[in-house]
Symmetry: C2
Subunit: 154 residues, 2 copies
């Protein structure tokens, strides 16, 4: 199954967090699961905060990318389109809030679940939680906006 | 000159964002400049958002590490100690907010400036801005707390 990020246009698929063309990046991949979105990510051994726990910066990064991917897919769906019906519109984050409620152990797969809320076809808020097994360790909220013209590759 | 992160104890110096012992990480380094703290960071070519701009996740990550480093140094100073007078106490982030006010161009050095505000020796808030030349492109705010016992290496 193709992820949201697989539907980004080639010139917009270089993100360090989720770009399929970025050879050094995290390659986060996001999918629909009903009305919510899901991404599964197993951090590498070097994605450490202190030994045994996942870096808060890496957690912020994957929340950010899952949110922009979710915003993109939600706006596409709200415009009446299916995945594969043209490239997904690219969104970027205007603001991000992350609450680290419990330490996130390094090792197990993390499951990110997003709940997009459409303000308009160009502005989508996404609540994201990160779970290890049943436990939500981190909660995030991102306000995502359609890629501004100033950031569009020429 | 040694950075704040050079004064972390060896078993707490593995962070992906700023750990001097993490071979794969960003190696952010923070310093006092009067009452504020400063870190300079030049992103790598692969720290992309869309081509030409810095990844929001990388920006969140370096803000996070500059904030915890600043909190650590500020708490140490507030306890009446100088840098080098024992290891710095390690702080972690309880919550992080990042506002991406303008796209951050990829290429130039970024200058992060932190303003720590001590709530107690175990809780410090830090406002951080990221500048490219004179322009502040990103503003962050982190609430940092002393490393909880549950995260301390045994």
């Amino acid at each position: 199954m193709k992820s949201f990020q697989d539907y980004y246009a080639d010139d917009l698929a270089w993100c360090f967090g989720c770009g399929r063309l970025n050879l050094e990046g995290h390659h986060l991949q996001s999918f629909w699961e009903g009305e919510t979105t899901v991404a599964r990510f197993t951090p590498k051994a070097f994605h450490t905060a202190v030994p045994g726990f996942v870096s808060g910066g890496v957690l912020a990064s994957i929340i950010d990318c899952h949110a922009t991917g979710s915003a993109s897919a939600a706006a596409h769906r709200a415009a009446g389109r299916e995945l594969g019906d043209g490239p997904l519109p690219r969104f970027v984050t205007a603001s991000l809030r992350v609450d680290y409620r419990h330490p996130t152990p390094l090792g197990p797969e993390l499951v990110l679940r997003g709940r997009p809320e459409i303000a308009s076809l160009r502005k989508v808020s996404v609540a994201v939680d990160v779970r290890v097994g049943e436990r939500a360790t981190v909660q995030g909220e991102a306000v995502c906006v359609a890629l501004p013209d100033a950031m569009r590759p020429t």
